[in-house]
Symmetry: C2
Subunit: 403 residues, 2 copies
């Protein structure tokens, strides 16, 4: 296995694990361990299934040439199986469903079935849409409309508040004196959540084009979310006097939705890493819209259910930058080709920027000069990790200043 891949996987798994050991309640730790065991098995299963299903997708015509290997003899004309996100996402669903069943046997009162099932419906519908898109090459209008419908069950089940804390800004005028300390956005809060889901599903999809990037960035974001959840759980339970000798008052467990987020994000991380092992440079499989839509919806779902949508947007800084930079091209001001990837130069083996393709891939190549595909991917993943770290800083230090 590639050394940089091993380093990346360790970087995704070790920090959450270290933080996990500092959680105050043994009972809470035990539930996270159970989820991790389920997820690890799911990851192994996904890893084993991918080559088998890859043969089937290739036989079904779901296969494409690797644009950035043109002129490289050993890989020329070799078609790479597409849409392997279907394996990851279905294994993820099965894992989450089985864990739901397991939890139901152990703590029937502790799971919020209505929100949990709404989350599953939204994710499952998004997978269905992604896979249909891969197979049928849907038009843009369908792509934009269907994620909206997929998010609705979640928004109906969303039982949380629709109020926001008004930032403590006094210039140019005192915002709190106008709106009050807390302002109820009502239906507009749900519209904001809907737009968030549409943004998440599409923004990962357009930051793509080189081996391992879609899956890698999703793994980094998932790791960040897991860390955020554990930090929040720690803050939540540390302040409770009911934790005595590591035993938590069981009725308190559903109080934190961050546990719900964890039992969705841990299987997501493991199955995504399994996919990355096949998708890392040089890719043996491609992931398809199935994966990018699935990943985006998973992030949106946990952020909505656990009320950390603003924090999620901080983790999405690279996607936001890429989207803003892409705007002139997406809205047709500059010609938009089907794939907005950089140019591969077979004589140097490096990627070179195409300045008219407005993605941060090309921007990075313009700033740092030509580099190999693998190096470009690693650079962008480090940038993603850096942005998530900055996001944490903003969330835990700067936000206190405003709220």
């Amino acid at each position: 296995m590639d050394k940089s891949l091993i380093a990346f996987i360790l970087a995704c798994v070790i920090p959450p694990f270290c933080l996990f050991t500092t959680l105050p309640s043994l009972q809470l730790q035990w539930r996270i361990v159970q989820s991790s065991i389920f997820s690890f098995v799911a990851g192994v299963l996904a890893y084993k299934l991918i080559p088998t299903i890859a043969e089937l997708t290739a036989a079904a015509g779901l296969a494409g040439t690797d644009l950035n290997k043109r002129g490289l003899k050993q890989t020329e004309n070799k078609k790479i199986p597409e849409s392997l996100g279907i394996v990851t996402s279905v294994v993820f669903l099965v894992c989450v469903i089985l864990f739901q069943l397991f939890q139901w046997f152990s703590f029937p009162e502790a799971i919020q079935l209505s929100e949990y099932n709404a989350a599953l419906t939204s994710i499952c519908f998004m997978i269905l849409l992604g896979f249909s898109d891969d197979v049928l090459n849907l038009r843009w209008r369908y792509k934009l409309i269907l994620p909206m419908f997929a998010t609705l069950p979640l928004l109906v089940a969303y039982a949380g508040g629709t109020s926001v804390v008004v930032p403590n800004i006094t210039f140019p005028f005192n915002l709190r004196s106008v709106l009050g300390q807390v302002f109820d956005l009502g239906i507009f809060y749900r519209i904001y959540l809907l737009l968030l889901a549409i943004f998440c599903t599409n923004s990962i999809n357009i930051l793509a084009g080189i081996n391992g990037l879609e899956v890698g960035q999703s793994a980094v974001i998932a790791t960040s979310i897991i860390i955020h959840n554990i930090v929040e759980l720690r803050l939540h339970y540390s302040s409770l006097s009911q934790v005595v000798d590591g035993v938590l008052n069981q009725t308190l467990l559903p109080a934190s939705p961050h546990l719900l987020s964890l039992v969705l994000m841990i299987p997501f991380l493991f199955t995504t890493l399994a996919l990355l092992m096949h998708n890392w440079y040089p890719s043996r499989v491609f992931v398809g819209d199935t994966f990018t839509y699935f990943a985006g919806m998973c992030f949106a779902v946990v952020a909505i259910l656990c009320h950390f949508s603003k924090t999620l947007l901080l983790f999405f800084i690279p996607q936001i930058l890429n989207f803003l930079y892409s705007v002139p091209q997406l809205f047709g001001l500059i010609e938009c080709p089907r794939h907005r990837v950089p140019r591969f130069n077979p004589s140097t083996g490096k990627m070179e920027a195409i300045p008219t393709n407005l993605t941060i891939l090309n921007l990075f190549l313009m700033i740092f000069g030509p580099m190999t595909e693998k190096r470009l991917c690693i650079t962008l993943l480090i940038f993603q990790g850096f942005c998530c770290a900055v996001g944490f800083g903003l969330r835990y230090y700067v936000a206190d200043y405003f709220f």
Copy 2:
């Protein structure tokens, strides 16, 4: 449009409508009318979308030759688009989700979100599996395992009782004196529901092979379920004194799960009839496993949520007969070809039985002699309707004798 098709559609729509008008509560009627309006729009949308999506499925290689038209010049070598169940099922999902949203605006307290969303998860997962199967040609072991997982969210959310009323049988011994009047099956009841879902999804799939049969039988079963729901609602609300001048005490509404079944079955019927218009002899589109799995799961879901699984099995008499008759072939005692359809004779234009293919299609041809494909389909649909009527008789008259 074909006259027999019009007659069939009217036979599906008119009886439930006549029964509907006898419901005691105007408020209840109004909610069913609302659901019907949503469903009618969904049906029209599905009807319009099918030809557009048919081009995409055909372009994706999802197309097949019509086995029963060999030798007929005008249709020879013409590939028919496959898997159009994807349109029906996605439009159905969107319709149900929008209606959920609509209900949430009008009666937020009246919808049981946990079960509703579990139902949607199960149905959506089954559509995903069916479509994957059509695209990837999955092996049998996957086909059997995945419906099981798809049913689990529903079984976890299933909040109903797990007790059964013991039949009042005194020969060879008094069953009630041994087991009591009511016997709690506990976990075995959930296992029974799981097997029911697996049976429903697969049994429609194997009673197939001629134009319009899969969709037609599903429409007949859906009609029967709707009639059953309305009859039950009528019995339920007629006995309540809270119905005064057609106004129902609103808190009573969630009491009958048959309303939940109705708002799933009405859109199912309308979208299915839209598909049938394209799938009726001679088929312009095929429906694929996507449709048969989707239909089976919808029936299983409503039967589980509304506690009428035994009644559902009475509506499934043709599928049960077909399954039992198929057993020797399904378990490999007799050679089992890929398609177990009858033989088409181009010189007479009629279908002829192949006695080694053990399906009720061939059995009917053996009993009634060769007939055209359309006539065979109509005969089988009439048989389906007859069996459902017998099922009603057993449910409402004979069952009283035993329970």
